[in-house]
Symmetry: C2
Subunit: 438 residues, 2 copies
Amino acid sequence: MTFKIGLLGLGTVGTGTAQILLDSSGRNPLLHEIEIHRVGVRSLDKPRSVALPPEIITTDLEAIVTDPEIDIIVELLGGLEPARSLILQAIAHGKHIVTANKAVISRYGAEIFTAAEEAGVYVLLEAAVGGGIPVIQALKQSLGANRIRSITGIVNGTTNYILTRMQTEGGDFEDILADAQKLGYAEADPTADVDGLDAGDKIAILASLAFAGRIKLEEVHCEGIRQVSAVDIAYAQKLGFTIKLLAVAKREETLLEAESIDSEMLQVRVHPTLVPQTHPLASINGVYNAILVEGEPLGQVMFFGPGAGSGATASAVVSDIMNIAAVLKTAGESHRLNPLLSCIHQHYCAIAPISELISRFYVRFLTKDLAGVIGYLGTCFGKHNVSLESIVQIGLRNNVAEIVVVTHNVREGNFREALAEIRQLEAIDSIPSILRVL
Amino acid sequence: MTFKIGLLGLGTVGTGTAQILLDSSGRNPLLHEIEIHRVGVRSLDKPRSVALPPEIITTDLEAIVTDPEIDIIVELLGGLEPARSLILQAIAHGKHIVTANKAVISRYGAEIFTAAEEAGVYVLLEAAVGGGIPVIQALKQSLGANRIRSITGIVNGTTNYILTRMQTEGGDFEDILADAQKLGYAEADPTADVDGLDAGDKIAILASLAFAGRIKLEEVHCEGIRQVSAVDIAYAQKLGFTIKLLAVAKREETLLEAESIDSEMLQVRVHPTLVPQTHPLASINGVYNAILVEGEPLGQVMFFGPGAGSGATASAVVSDIMNIAAVLKTAGESHRLNPLLSCIHQHYCAIAPISELISRFYVRFLTKDLAGVIGYLGTCFGKHNVSLESIVQIGLRNNVAEIVVVTHNVREGNFREALAEIRQLEAIDSIPSILRVL
């Protein structure tokens, strides 16, 4: 049996994918049955580091997704369009889909999976989260016996690289971002990474799989790392914490007994977080990704590996192609979808409003009048039911004192109300950092 | 569709498995289609912590594996017999098998998989290695695009618990073993764990999957942790290392240019190892397991989680049951085996003789005549082409000096010859520890 694939995109991941498929000895023998039938690119003139017969390369992407000979479309274009339209068109033509496109899946997953279900085709996306780390298949298959309680991940390599360097070198965000851009670890427009949006796309996808429902991306709360400063990292370290950009999805067990909150509600959020140095995620450094899954009766498992890069991501792409080929071989003509590989949930998960979440917070204030302010902070937080663990002055510069407050577990709404009131105080110069504590 | 399972064994893991299946809300909906049809136990009188209808429990295990209504036999008896015979009998009756039995699979895998191939049934064994960590499915499916270079794992929780306590408390092996036995972390007869045999079974299974060939268990080199002492742990720590019992399977890339060694040969071995403190495996503590897989083009991925326990192991058992049920649903009547889930390799992997391996070694000597001995050690190792990194006196007790030698990468055969010669020297009292360095 031979399975013919149409490859859309021949950038880093596309090239890595083609390289694996063209050099299959020593890999799973199923790869011998997979053939690159056509490759779609934007420009034919670009030099390529993979030797493909020129006659199979085309700029006519539509001709690929409608080609009756092709079984599987591998979408590695990135971006929203034309990726979304081509995926939908391919599905309408009965093609199975393998994609690494987290942006398309997190935004248009509902549309794409509904179409795939109707057409009886698979849409696999192992490469969309965690690069070569096989976390998607684990959530779909190996961990399926569990009630998942939470997923906590470092899923953006760029921000983890920046935070790791800030931690080891003591530098500030802007300088290290600039250097990361020079070195190719951050893009010229770093918004999607540093503002937590890429991590938001990824946790939406993971949450959808773990909790078997659709997630509205606009309900995912995203904060990035721009506000994290060298001062925060140094002080967090003194307190026994490392600052990481965490993507979190969990069932609402930590909510206060708020009557309005359904216990089946989810939290789905991305934010810089103080992680205890003994926590397994605290030691994940550089561009590596790690995803910690907690379930019943499993307990905790963690997956760790390269979250990006040509080879790692291509490894995930090709594993999806193989999975589809293997299932097609098994199914023969009957073509019933494997319920563990297809995506059939129709409902949307209810996401708890961020104001109802319970967290510990770390806040750094700059203030002009130290003596009065510490008392005022204590009183004001107390008034709003925000119980404090500590208020400490950590620095004094140009007559401005730095004060760090760490709270106990408090309701976010109360905490925000207290902060709003505190901001009114003349003596408060600014509140440069508000971070959560794991 | 309903899939009927016959459960053999209702110990810790069997009970955990039944609990998941009887309480399936909030888990994957496929579980609703799985029914515990019969349960085989050794004694009907034992009190059970899971509520099963008494009429489905029997001591007649053969009646279960031959029951025409049963689709999947879940073997959780442990031990070699009657587990092996029952598995073979079930296969002969066309049942699919799910097992957690590493001892049976590592010894009788060839016989069992050949029979399964002939009968057209699956034998899945996620729970046999790493408890709830989904490493088996990753090797079979998600990482299949890679050429695997190496697998390095902490796969025995008992020894990792003992080594972790030796590290944190500074205690000696025998005392902590006795305490671990009292606490239930080590068995009354701890041989399989502390002599590395359990880890040997597991690395044989992992190597077989990663390198797509059968492994003769007797060719797996196993050393346990009995010889590891508090002195070694303390000195290793000073050198920047943590001592772990590692199970290693890798392609022979580190061999010297020995003409007799095929580059496709494997190393498969278990031994206490000095692991650099910065290595991801160094921080895996207590009863946790971790498995690091290195492949091309993937790079490194690590899986971390509970390596044993009722819930974690049952999670893996049930995921295998679900996988089979899902594939059966997809396949309908056609019943062709999924090539990624079945095991079809017939050949045996060639295992390199341990004498040809290249490693760094740590050796601790007790000697009576310090001055002469250090020179002699240097000369003797040199004569056998064993290049040394350091010779250091680390202690002196009752007129006996402790000397630690750390070598560069050397051929194990040469190293052993040098040691044999050194042992002859009158001044050498004993050689209490020989450990490898990662």
